[in-house]
Symmetry: C2
């Protein structure tokens, strides 16, 4: 696909937290939110409704598994989920652990900064990977 | 639940686009984005991972049905999906049709306004309702 050639999300990420044949999980590299994860669908499509039902379910199983892993490892005040893709129309999800004392709370992280907020450290790569494997195994067994 | 008593999303919305036993669909009433819809889970829970698998699937079927309906009726440049809930931790989804000439594109709608953008009219209540019914019926038959 010619559109995919120039797409930064079509390239394999430098550091991968977790992957299977269909998606990558990475740390987003947002310095105010070190635990901010991104789940990237490997195929170059734009919208959730461009996927089949089974593909939608698989991607969301991974998204919610990352949510569950972050809740277990970090006990954030709230999880924020978003699939925007205005800048890069290649399907991906933001999974963002939020705390009342972070830089933007209760606003979304895309709003202007509200305060010099606490930067909550990310979980370790290995802990997050283990939690995702564990939660996905539970899901598959359910 | 005592926490639900003070929750604005526990009250029945004034104007309902579509509903079933589990969720409401409404227009969000955002003046720059008249087609911006909100899908509200009726029960007072905070996170997607507080739902059962079947509940997650049902809610997302409705969210993606609204996405599909807006794509069909309005041909936006992109759909934005988000479940944030920092201000009101009662599970709800934003389904936002976006255009390159809207007030914030390509930023999220929560970022500072970029321009005096085009305000794309909402679909009619009846058209949206019909599209949701149609798309959900297709989904159930799939």
């Amino acid at each position: 696909m010619s559109q995919a050639v120039a797409c930064p999300l079509c390239a394999a990420p430098a550091e991968i937290v977790w992957q299977d044949d269909f998606c990558h999980v990475i740390f987003a590299g947002e310095h105010l939110y070190p635990g901010f994860c991104r789940v990237i669908w490997k195929q170059h499509v734009a919208e959730m409704t461009d996927l089949t039902l089974n593909e939608q379910r698989h991607l969301l199983n991974v998204v919610f598994t990352v949510e569950r892993a972050l809740r277990t490892l970090q006990q954030p005040t709230k999880i924020n989920l978003a699939s925007l893709g205005n800048m890069v129309p290649h399907l991906h999800w933001h999974v963002i652990p939020r705390w009342t004392d972070d830089s933007h709370f209760p606003d979304p992280v895309w709003a202007p900064v509200r305060r010099n907020g606490t930067i909550h450290p990310a979980p370790s790569l290995q802990d997050l990977r283990d939690q995702i494997d564990h939660a996905l195994a539970e899901l598959t067994a359910a």
